[in-house]
């Protein structure tokens, strides 16, 4: 229809445009797509630290100390001795620094139930310098040897160790889980082998320590192997729904399963047009 003849036609075409019921659905779909895309973009920026233990040369220690005093000393004290705002870092070891700073948990964004993962604030070189400095204050767990991080151990043994020592908090599929008072065990999907290893030996925040006498370095390698294997094969059974177990699955079936049943029932009993 031509444009100048049609006032009423314009009104009609309007109903098929922005006011049509399909427009609302399309708007929601576009909105979901954008938020989902933005979320994926944000969560894709995970830490990508390669453990390259910097030589504990004097210059590295000096540089690390400068970085520390500029960025960490407000809470942890000028000599890492701790203040009322943050714990002492003497004896936590280089591994703790590489984990906390390398996953973006430190510097801490704000006080809350626990420090959370966020985009990493330093380059890997700076993290290494910080780690060397903190590691030089007192003996502590050091950054793990690369031979334990190749994820090429015994996955079956690792999965058994994981189920006994880790699964109660981190979920049997490593999807994470809730703890008390707003704390939670984070998901292990996409965490680098070095950070998994360092978390085990240092026990960050409320996680207990699993030292080498408890789980041997080979055992830790097996655990990493099992986690990486699970990540690689995905869910053979279909959509994992976050692998959160009965809560996510129950919610899904209540909404979509029962929704479909209700819709079908309405359709079956409605009189045909």
């Amino acid at each position: 229809m031509s444009r100048k003849t049609s006032r009423p036609a314009a009104g009609k075409s309007r109903r098929t445009g922005r006011r049509s019921p399909a427009a609302a659905a399309a708007l929601i779909a576009v909105g979901l797509l954008f938020t989902g895309g933005a979320y994926a973009a944000v969560s894709a920026t995970t830490a990508n630290a390669q453990p390259a233990p910097a030589a504990a040369s004097q210059s590295n220690v000096e540089d690390g100390k400068k970085l520390f005093q500029a960025n960490c000393a407000t809470c942890h004290g000028l000599n890492a001795q701790g203040t009322s705002d943050g714990p002492s870092l003497i004896g936590v070891g280089a591994a703790a620094v590489d984990f906390q700073v390398g996953t973006g948990r430190m510097p801490m964004q704000g006080h809350g139930p626990q420090a959370q993962k966020k985009p990493v604030q330093f380059t890997q070189e700076q993290i290494n310098q910080l780690a060397v400095y903190v590691g030089s204050t007192a003996p502590g767990p050091s950054i793990p040897d690369a031979k334990y991080l190749d994820a090429d151990g015994d996955a079956a043994h690792g999965a058994e160790l994981f189920r006994i020592n880790c699964a109660m908090c981190h979920n049997v599929a490593g999807a994470g889980g809730a703890l008390t008072e707003g704390k939670f065990a984070p998901s292990l999907v996409g965490v680098t082998p070095a950070h998994i290893y360092e978390a085990m030996i240092t026990g960050p925040q409320n996680m207990p320590v699993f030292n080498d006498m408890n789980i041997s370095p080979e055992g830790k390698r097996d655990i990493i192997t099992a986690l990486k294997y699970q990540e690689k094969i995905g869910n053979p059974g279909g959509i994992g729904l976050g692998s959160l177990g009965p809560v996510a699955e129950g919610l899904f079936i209540w909404i979509f399963g029962l929704g479909a049943v209700v819709a079908l029932t309405v359709w079956i009993t409605a009189k045909s047009n």
């Binding site: 703890l179 008390t180 008072e181 409320n206 207990p208 030292n211 006498m213 279909g238 079956i268 045909s272």
Partner: protein, 355 residues
Amino acid sequence: MAQDDNSGKDLAAANSSSHDLLPEDSGTGVVSPDAVENPGHPEHRQRVTDLNPKKEKQAERTVFILFFLSAVGSLWAVAAYMMFPIDGQMELVRSNNLFIGLGATLALMALGIGAVHWGKALMADHESVDHRHPVRGTDETRARAIEIFEEANEESGFGRRSLIRNSLIGALVVFPLPAVALFRGLAPYDEDPVELLHHTMWKKGTRLARDPSGAPIKASDVTLGSAFHVIPEDLNDAKDVLNEKAKAIVLLMRLKPEDLNELPERKNWSYNGIVAYSKVCTHVGCPVALYEQQTHHLLCPCHQSQFDVANHATVIFGPAARPLPQLPITVDDEGYLVAQSDFHEPVGPSFWERH
């Protein structure tokens, strides 16, 4: 109920009589003097498939396509079973399940939707009323039924020959007894469950060992903030490993000694801040192992009971009734952690005979 003894009528007849359907005898029911009038059925509305032969043809085609799709789905499921074998690789389970499932879903869904669509759009469309009939039979039927019973009693002599009848009843009473005796034999009979629930494998001198390897733990291995999942060292040689493990599992934690608030009578139950608590929740027996090393809280994942390890595992939240039982520990000459004795109380949830 009022319509009970009407025989089936079609809608027009039912509609015309719907106003005088109030019962003469309403039984115990309360009859409201100004009851809402029965509006009857809405007027019959014809479907497009009744009015428009083109639409009818279209609906027929839709049903045909749905049934055809159903057949395609069934054949596809068979084909998918052959095209996507599992062949021992876990990853292949997904496509195998997915494609067979899609075929089977299509087969069933299309069949159901097609049948309902057929019924709704094409089958005869007229409303009718089927009245309910009274449940009670006629008097002749009832009299005949009694007659049959009496005749049977007469002819079989069931009432007359009381010796035979009573011996039959006796035989039937005795008949299930072998089953009772046989199945009773499956239950444990030479052990007392109450006694079993009161004790675990732990005894004086049993070394604490790692789960699952059974390697004993030295006190020096347990650094500050550590949590060890512990079994008795001799568990793997036990007769009934899983049952024994279910009672004997222990969580070993090391706290700063100054953080520990111990009961005076349990002062020597820990070693240098190392404490051992039963891992079996006192609520319904889930393994309590979600240990937070800074708050010293233990969380049970099943019903969110929380125990404060620093405070002799008292319940600080949730449905658990009692603190977790503590295992008294010490070290032997070689530095290994050992139990001083069994738990001093039964582990796990309450049971009737628990004192």
